[in-house]
Each structure stands twice: as C-alpha cells, then as structure tokens.
C-alpha cells in the first residue's frame, strides 16, 4: 500500500496547463527522487499534495491519495486534516522558511503541541533538535533563525517536518541553498531519519547527482509531465527520454580539470614564520 500516490494529476494556471499527467508513488520507507529543470512543475506537484497551491493555480484532473485515502481531487481538498501528521514538507531556503521573530525551539514545539498530547513537548523538542544533529540542542532551541547558519536552519526545518511523524515527507530542493560540504550531511540525515522511522520521502531536485545515489526510484519531469520513471539504476544506466539522457550525460562528465590525485593544501603561512623575522 503506497504512502503517497498521485494519479494523472493536471494543474492549470489560467487556461495554461503547467502540470500535465503526473503519476507518482512514494512507498513507505522508500525514497523517490523527482528530477526536472526549474519550471517543470515539480514544486507545484508537491504543493498540490499538501493542498497549498497558490491561488491562481487549480487542479483540473487526477487525484492524490495518502495511505490509500483520497485527499485531493479536482473538486475537493481534504489535506487540512493530514497536513503535518500525514504529510509534511520542507523547503528550499531554510532561513526564509523559519519565522524570524520566534525562537526556533518555540517553532518546533508548536508542531509538537499540536499533534503530540502525551509527553513533554519541550523535552521532545530538544531531543528532536539533537536528533537532527544540532550540537547543544537545548541552547540551540533558544536561538532565533538569524543566529543560525543556513545548514542549522535546514536542520531545524527538518526537525519541524518530522516532529509530527508524517507518513510521507516531501523535501523540495532541501540542499540547493546550502554549501556543498553541508549538502551531504543534510542528505545523510534525511536518509538516516527515513530508515529509522519508515516514512516515505519524495526528494525533489533539479540536480540528478543529489538524487541518483539516495533514491531507490527516480521520476524525471519535463515540461509539466513525468517523462520517465523507474528504479535508479535503470533510469541512469539506460535512459529512454532525451532529456533524461542529457541529465545523465552531465552527471557522467564532471569537469575533470586534472588527472592527478588531489594534492594536500600547502601549509599555512603561520606554520612557517618568515625566515628573516627577528633577525
């Protein structure tokens, strides 16, 4: 039984179809990657699953099911009841996605208080912040978003996303705004949480390399439609759609500057005081 299932979703803005024929399934405990260029309709698909489409956009066909129950159809939106507990989402720009006037611990606690009647939300909040890899979580909980780095903000966002233990977590470009060095940490963290909680994850990215290794299955979106879907090996090793092939080609040809193995950094000047110094 799939966690999240999208059947023939079609979204229009005005009379232009911006999402046409999207079929997608996220099994519990698994990770599906959704790859596509910007403007291909990835985020709209995600927002539709949460019932958070912008006002101008409307669903014209298809349906979305969560845990087997219909949550979204063209006529009806029942996501209000499942948002948070059934399905949650984390966003691209971590700092903008946190309320600037509230302490981060407070924001995580709010999610806990809503869903989790038993247990002390404050204690649970600190546990969660620790679980997403914030050092000294009890101190971090008292900070405001502007006092945290982008990576730390994203960890707080993840804590908020998993606080209500959703069946499915949608991560929309969760690492695009982060340093390359932090990206791997955050993706590892999401992997780790997924394997521990058994929640399904939809990882959205424009970057195939982010998705390639971590997702069991990959869907490729192009101009509002899913043009290719399958297990990650199949999609990457034998792409059938030209757009996928292009993505894979870029993946296979990293900018190879030199064949030499990476050299260690030269020692810093401070390690070697100038020879003339003092003398």
């Amino acid at each position: 039984m799939p966690g999240l299932q999208i059947d023939g979703l079609r979204i229009a803005i005005g009379d232009r179809d911006v999402v046409r024929a999207v079929d997608l399934a996220v099994e519990p405990g698994s990770c599906r990657g959704l790859v596509g260029e910007s403007g291909s309709g990835k985020s709209l698909t995600a927002l539709a699953s949460l019932g958070l489409l912008p006002r101008a956009a409307r669903i014209t066909a298809g349906r979305i099911l969560l845990g087997g129950d219909e949550t979204v159809t063209p006529d009806r939106d029942r996501t209000g009841g499942v948002r948070g507990s059934g399905i949650a989402m984390i966003f691209q720009s971590p700092r903008a996605a946190l309320n600037p006037v509230l302490r981060v611990g407070h924001q995580v606690e709010r999610v806990l208080r809503r869903k989790d009647q038993h247990g002390d939300p404050r204690k649970r909040c600190v546990e969660l912040l620790g679980a997403v890899g914030l050092g000294e979580p009890d101190k971090a909980a008292r900070l405001y978003p502007h006092e945290l780095s982008g990576g730390m903000c994203q960890r707080v966002m993840i804590a908020m996303g998993i606080a209500s233990e959703p069946q499915v977590l949608i991560a929309d470009e969760p690492v695009t705004a982060l340093d390359v060095t932090v990206q791997a940490d955050i993706l590892d963290l999401l992997d780790d949480i997924r394997s521990r909680t058994g929640m399904g994850m939809l990882l959205i990215s424009h970057d195939l390399s982010v998705v390639a290794e971590r997702c069991e299955s990959i869907s490729v979106m192009w101009q509002g439609a899913i043009v290719e879907a399958g297990p990650n090996r199949t999609v990457i090793n034998s792409p059938r759609h030209p757009f996928t092939a292009e993505l894979v080609r870029d993946l296979a040809n990293p900018p190879n500057v030199t064949d030499r193995p990476p050299q260690p950094l030269p020692a810093r000047p401070a390690d070697h005081p100038p020879a003339e110094a003092g003398g």
Partner: protein, 300 residues
C-alpha cells in the same frame, strides 16, 4: 552613519564592538547617544506623565472650585498660572486636563491599534470578498478628512467622553488597518508562512503566530503618532464645543473659554493649556520618530 559610528567608538575607550555584549546600562547609554529624539521625547513624555499624574492625585487647588472673588487674577505666587473668569486655578486645571487628554490619547491609539490590526490581518490574509468589504468601508472612511469625520460622528453620538473616544477611534482605525493589511500581503506569501502551513499549522495559528508578529512594526509606529493626533483632535473637538463639555477642565475646553479674554489682556487662561497640548504632542512625536527609526522595514 559614519559620524555616529565614530562618536560611538570614541565614547568607548575599550573599543569593543557590540558583539562583546555591553551591559544593559551601557547599551541604554549608547542608544540614547545615537537617538536624540529618544532623549527629548522620553524626558518630555516622562515630565508630562509625572505632572499629569501629580495633578490628578494632589492638585494645588480644586480644578473645579469656583471663587468669583479671584476671577481673572494674573499669574502670581498664589496662582502660578493665574485664574480664569470663574476664579478657578488655571495651573490645577492644566494639570488635570493634561492627564485627561493624555489618557484619552492613549486609549484612542490603543483601540485604533487593536481594531486596525485585527481587521487588517483578517482582510489581508483571507482576501477575497472579506478583503473587498473591509477595504471599501476603509476607503469610504478615508475619503473624509479624519478630523471632520470624528467631528460628525461626535455630533451624531452626543457629547460624552466615551463618544468622543469612539468618534476619534473610528476616524483613525483606517490608517492602522491599511498599514497592517499592506504588510500582511507582503508576509502572506513568505516561505515561513508556507512552511508553517506545510507542517500542519491551522489558519488562525498561522495568522496570529506567524503573520501578525511580522507585520506589527509599522503599525506600532503609526499608533505612537496617533496618540499625538488624538490629543490634538480631542482638544480640537472640545474647543469647537462638540467634544468634551465644560465645566470639565479638558485643555481644548479651557482654550475655548479663555479665547475671548486674550484680546483684553488675560492671555493666561488660554495660553497655558495651549502650551501643555504642544508639549504633550511634541513628546509623543519625538517618541514616534524613535519608534520609526527602530522598527522601520520590519515585516516588509
């Protein structure tokens, strides 16, 4: 900025930046140095409040006691500000009236702030027909000059302190409402609002916890300035005879009562209440300037 920065550094021989975490009193001192309007406004406002409260608790004379034998006595040791045409002590009346006007100004600003923020938040966040109705009513209210609007409402409602407060509040709500709605429209689409909704926050929670705190900045500045406007409008209404009525020692009432004596040389009956209004409004405007400096740009 460069000038204040230099002054700031020169005044702090230890040369540590703000990151070093100066104590509370040091922070207050540097705040006062950088914002002269806070000093002037604070001193004036504190003086106004102290004087007004003292005047209510222990006025030198009863502000309402008539003593026809001492009518229109010039300022002197017995009556610092002189007496009016009924022999009442102008000093006591000014103190009492000042307290009254400041209290009314604060109440009006608080009411207008509360109503304007709530309505602006609902209109801006919900949008659609709610927004249409609220904004059309606001447009109608704003098509009248606020003083004329307050005047006509006060005339219709009748002359009591409560009705004057209601009238002036209605005239000021649109200013706060529009500001709040504008900020709400800007914040409504912010990522953290979407984020809060994505993890399941209810509509009312999103509005009160995530939208409102990020939009009140400009409205707080406006509400501070409204205190001054309200003092002016209430005393203006009373001066014209449609606000607070004699024998109440409201400042506008006193100016009106003394107006006919200015030409015959008894200036003190009108001038002292007038100066009191000026100082009170000045104090509020300086504080509003400071609030503007501190909060400008918040929520946008």
């Amino acid at each position: 900025m460069g000038l204040t920065g230099a002054g700031f550094g020169a005044g702090r021989p230890d040369g540590t930046g703000p990151a070093a975490g100066p104590g509370r009193s040091a922070r207050l001192r540097s705040e006062l140095r950088q914002h002269p309007s806070l000093v002037v406004g604070g001193v004036l406002a504190a003086a106004t409040l102290i004087v007004a409260i003292a005047g209510h608790i222990a006025p030198p004379h009863n502000p309402l006691a008539l003593s026809p034998g001492h009518a229109l006595a010039p300022p002197g040791p017995a009556h610092w500000f002189g007496t009016d045409q009924f022999g009442r002590d102008v000093f006591s009346r000014v103190l009492y009236g000042l307290g009254m006007d400041v209290a009314i100004g604060l109440i009006v600003a608080a009411l207008a702030f509360a109503v304007g923020c709530a309505a602006g938040l609902v209109a801006g966040y919900l949008g659609g027909w709610v927004d249409d109705i609220v904004m059309r009513v606001t447009d109608i209210l704003m098509s009248f000059p606020s003083f004329l609007l307050a005047l006509s409402i006060a005339v219709v409602l009748g002359n009591t302190v409560r009705n004057v407060i209601i009238a002036v509040t209605i005239a000021y709500v649109p200013y706060i409402l529009r500001l709040t709605r504008g900020s709400v429209l800007a914040v409504r689409g912010a990522d953290y609002v979407l984020g809060a909704r994505a993890v399941g926050a209810s509509r009312s929670r999103v509005m009160t916890l995530h939208v409102l705190p990020n939009t009140v900045g400009p409205s707080v500045v406006q509400a501070t300035l409204l205190v001054g406007w309200a003092i002016l409008d209430v005393s203006g209404l009373s001066f014209l005879g449609v606000g607070i009525q004699p024998p109440s020692p409201e400042l506008g009432v006193q100016i009106a009562q003394g107006a006919s004596y200015i030409t015959s040389g008894q200036w003190w009956v009108s001038v002292f209440p007038g100066v009191a209004i000026i100082l009170a409004v000045l104090a509020v405007n300086f504080l509003g300037d400071y609030a503007d400096d501190k909060l400008r740009g918040r929520g946008s």
